[in-house]
């Protein structure tokens, strides 16, 4: 019970902290002071206090609500700061995780398409196309991890990796590389999508929220952050599983979160956004790496 509350509390704190740290790193590289690392939290709070302005064309009001609830439901399955997930389901919770993310994506796009604006259509179309490729990588990674541990749930995967020794380490490293790319995709971070661009033609995720405001926008932004947080905690759980840390798990976890956000910030300050054509290749490359993951798992197990 204590760990559940712990998880839930940090689920509402760490996501925008990650974004804040990434922003701070970017500011450091630009020799600026940068906003406080809590700035994203303040932004969300401000948005929640604002009046909601909907498009004249909109007819479903609860798109943002459903997007956020899909992501929150996905958060129930991934082990987080306390080292265990909030709901310990027995069977194939990784599939549930993937489909909850799809659920939230569906409503993000439906909400975007409501406004009848062409930029939003463009963003949705791109998001869907990249998500198809991302789905290949994610499904292959998760299936290979599950096959490695013959695991019917997330906990089984992590147990198998912590018992796997060097093999487990190799697999965790490859898998976390793929998951990192997928994290950038889901959170629309730098080499895939520039969260701070001002050119609509190059936007993906930002184009979809152009016409949203107030609580709706807050829900959308927050669900993006939570997605990044969830993938990050997946990666951290994989890496920490190889180290077999049991005491002070939460400390290591927060350290991991900070490291990942620093890496995100580094990438954003050192690399330019990829061209649209290359984004597809970038994600497909991670899918190819996931094929290698699968093959190495097969080599280890069969």
């Amino acid at each position: 019970m204590k760990s559940i509350i712990f998880n839930i509390v940090f689920l509402f704190v760490l996501p925008y902290l990650m974004y804040g740290i990434a922003k701070k790193v970017k500011a450091f590289f630009a020799r600026r002071k940068g906003p406080s690392i809590w700035q994203y939290g303040y932004d969300l709070a401000k948005l929640l206090r604002k009046e909601e302005v909907l498009s004249d064309f909109s007819c479903l009001r609860n798109g943002g609500v459903l997007t956020l609830s899909g992501v929150l439901a996905a958060a129930m399955f991934i082990p987080q700061i306390s080292g265990s997930s909030i709901l310990n389901l027995g069977y194939y919770d990784y599939i549930l995780f993937i489909y909850m993310l799809s659920f939230s994506r569906f409503f993000t796009i439906i909400t975007a398409m409501e406004s009848g604006c062409s930029f939003e259509g463009m963003g949705s179309s791109r998001e869907l196309i990249f998500s198809v490729t991302g789905e290949i990588a994610l499904m292959m990674t998760v299936a290979s991890l599950a096959f490695y541990g013959k695991a019917e749930n997330f906990n089984g995967i992590f147990n198998a990796i912590s018992n796997g020794g060097t093999e487990g380490l190799i697999i965790a490293i490859i898998a976390s590389f793929i998951l990192f790319v997928l994290m950038l995709l889901e959170g629309s971070r730098m080499p895939i999508d520039d969260p701070e661009t001002h050119l609509e033609l190059t936007m993906i995720h930002e184009a979809m929220v152009l016409d949203q405001s107030g609580p709706q926008l807050a829900f959308m932004s927050f669900s993006g952050m939570v997605k990044v947080y969830l993938f990050a905690s997946f990666i951290i759980s994989l890496i920490l599983a190889t180290c077999k840390t049991s005491s002070y798990y939460w400390l290591f976890f927060i350290l991991g979160i900070i490291i990942i956000s620093v890496i995100i910030g580094l990438i954003e300050s050192l690399q330019a956004r990829l061209r649209m054509v290359h984004v597809q290749q970038y994600i497909l490359f991670s899918a190819a790496i996931s094929l290698i993951l699968l093959l190495s798992v097969i080599i280890f197990k069969v």
Binding site: C59, L60, M113, S118, S124, M140
Partner: protein, 645 residues
């Protein structure tokens, strides 16, 4: 023996009532016709479903013979009869809601309900026939099957909506007969007759049922015929009739254990190709009914993947949990498909009646006009793109689970590679079908209205059809939320279904929670509407909206080789061009190649036309030549046979 112990007789009588009701309704005028039929068919459908689900207690297997006709009913048959009954029930309700609507073409046709009634009755008959490998049973099965095909053809050509109805209908009839020929060959071969061993028989059955299902190379007729069919019957054909072929495959293939290995892998391959091809062709299309036809192919592909993994798990590797989950997935998915596909077809038909078009580039912004339809179709869309907490997810999840079971329990390189590959394919197909149905839904309901329809009449959406469609979507939601209803024993399957129930409640609970939060915020801070901002475009019009083409084109351009398009891009020459039309049409390479073969064959026949001269003497000459050749053949073959002796 009480009446509850004789379900077969009851269903037979019900099917006769259904057919008779259809025929009787032809004698009344168009206003009353629909209602009479709706009452009869609705009662028959509801009763047969209830009978199958709740009415039978204790006994699991029934048999009945009428003269030389043998009927039987077991659990699989009961499941499919319940599905058909449900389909007939909803179809009757939907048809009743259309009666008196002058824009629904099928209402003008006097024999529409007659065909519908006989069609429904023949589906019930197909499910009752006892298939025991004898020719007698095969003949009975095939006669019911042929009646089904024939009347589905009549239903397809009922409307004059699309150009070239008769041609497309005839293609459908021809294809159905090719399928029937293969089926008959297959039945003869497996009943132990001299020509062809078992393997050939099963190939023939696979081709026959595969054509009916619209699996990969034989899918070319589906989009055309579903588009031609009036929506009310397209729902029944695409949603319910297709299940008959799944039933046939389950019935005939599962008897065959000897070739289970080969057929399992073949089914997997065919299923994967069909699922991918179907969903991509749905993505390429821009007319709602064709999109739905592509999605039918995709779902049938998924079901065939399920049958394949069932065969492999049960008969090759003996992993019973995997087999059980695959079979449960197949059955639940076929039920789900019959629900949401019919619902989507009816919704699209309603929109077609309203606007006169199913072209996604003309529709748009209808969400305000159709308030109830918008909601029920959102549920249907969620269901068909297999997202939780709707029913489509249940079937998909069980398929995933069966692959994982197989993966964990068999240690073999081949199985591991195949299982993970199939899992990835399932995931990709899921993501693509999300793409397809987001496109369909948002192009119909969201955004600005692309065209003003002069005949806008709210009356099209009446109380009856909104109740019907809402009921269908609510039934889907019930299956999705409480799949635990399907559990019948204490095993892993039940645990998985329990978990799915929990998951559905989880997502619904979160939605309610966040919804309450938003409600509170809106109450505190207010909410208003204003024109779309769109980065400073004042006054966004529908001409600036993203169209269905532009939505899917970036992906389809990558697949240019597989799904070729006919594009007509007029180049822009002036600075202020007056009018530029850009048309875009999906070509169907398989249909084109079949057309090519047919035209070559036609040419050949044309060259042989000199034989048909009309002169008696010529015909006599031909027959004499034939006779002489036959005699010569007989002499030579007997002499060589003698020589061998």
């Amino acid at each position: 023996m009480s009446i509850w112990q004789q379900p077969i007789q009851q269903v037979l009588i019900l099917s006769l009532i259904l057919a008779a009701g259809g025929i009787i309704s032809a004698f009344f005028n168009s206003r009353v016709r629909g209602r009479i039929f709706a009452v009869i068919a609705g009662a028959v459908g509801a009763y047969s479903t209830l009978l199958m689900v709740l009415g039978i207690r204790g006994q699991e297997f029934f048999e009945y013979s009428l003269g030389s006709m043998n009927f039987s009913l077991d659990l699989v048959g009961r499941f499919f009869i319940a599905t058909v009954g449900l389909g007939i029930f909803f179809s009757a309700l939907y048809n009743a809601s259309l009666s008196g609507n002058s824009r629904a073409f099928e209402q003008k046709n006097r024999f529409y309900y007659g065909s519908l009634g006989i069609f429904g009755a023949s589906m019930l008959q197909v499910l009752l026939v006892k298939i025991d490998g004898t020719l007698n049973s095969a003949l009975l099965f095939m006669s019911a099957w042929e009646i089904m095909s024939l009347f589905s053809f009549l239903l397809i050509i009922c409307s004059d909506e699309v150009k070239g109805v008769s041609g497309k209908g005839l293609t459908y009839l021809l294809v159905m007969h090719i399928s029937a020929a293969f089926l008959m060959t297959g039945f003869i071969a497996i009943s132990g007759n001299p020509f062809g061993g078992d393997l050939y028989g099963f190939w023939a059955l696979l081709i026959g049922f595969g054509i009916k299902l619209g699996l990969f190379p034989s899918h070319f007729y589906m989009a055309d015929s579903y588009e031609t069919a009036p929506g009310a019957s397209a729902g029944l054909i695409s949603g319910v009739m297709i299940n008959m072929a799944i039933y046939g495959i389950l019935r005939t293939f599962l008897v065959c254990v000897k070739y289970a290995g080969i057929f399992g892998y073949i089914l997997l391959i065919i299923g994967i190709v069909s699922a991918l091809w179907g969903v991509l062709s749905a993505l390429a299309e821009n007319r709602a009914k064709r999109v739905l036809a592509g999605s039918s192919m995709e779902n049938m592909g998924l079901i065939i993947i399920g049958v394949g993994v069932f065969t492999i798990a049960e008969y090759v590797y003996n992993v019973h949990t995997a087999a059980l989950m695959a079979l449960a997935g197949v059955l639940i998915h076929s039920l789900n498909h019959s629900l949401f596909k019919a619902q989507l077809f009816y919704s699209v038909d309603l929109i077609r009646n309203h606007t006169g078009s199913t072209d996604l580039d003309k529709l748009g912004g209808l969400g305000k006009t159709f308030n109830n339809l918008k909601r029920s179709m959102l549920l249907g869309t969620l269901g068909i793109s297999s997202l939780p907490p709707l029913n489509g997810f249940i079937g998909k999840f069980l398929l995933y689970a069966s692959f994982f079971e197989l993966l964990f329990n068999v240690e073999s390189f081949k199985v591991a590679l195949i299982c993970v590959f199939c899992l990835v394919i399932l995931g990709t197909v899921g993501a693509l079908s999300l793409f397809v149905f987001v496109k369909l839904y948002s192009m119909i309901f969201l955004g600005a209205e692309r065209e003003k329809f002069p005949q806008m009449r709210k009356a099209v959406e009446n109380r009856l059809n909104s109740i019907t469609l809402s009921a269908m979507s609510l039934l889907s939601l019930t299956i999705g939320v409480a799949p635990i209803l399907f559990a019948y024993n204490r095993g892993k399957l039940t645990n998985v279904l329990y978990e799915l129930t929990l998951n559905a409640f989880l997502i619904i609970g979160f939605s309610l929670l966040v919804w309450g939060f938003r409600h509170l915020l809106v109450k505190l801070n207010g909410s208003r509407k204003s024109p779309t901002w769109g980065c400073g475009y004042s006054n966004i019009t529908s001409r600036m909206e993203y169209t269905a083409d532009s939505f899917s084109l970036p992906l389809m351009r990558l697949l240019d080789k597989i799904f070729p398009r006919k594009e007509n891009n007029e180049p822009v020459t002036e600075l202020y061009p007056a009018d530029i039309t850009r048309t875009y049409e999906v070509r169907n390479p398989i249909k084109e190649s079949i057309d090519f073969i047919c035209s070559k064959f036609n040419d050949l026949l044309g060259k042989l036309q000199f034989l048909q001269s009309g002169l008696m003497q010529n015909y006599l000459w031909i027959s004499i030549i034939f006779l002489v050749l036959a005699i010569l053949y007989a002499i030579f073959s007997s002499s060589t046979a003698g020589g061998v002796k």
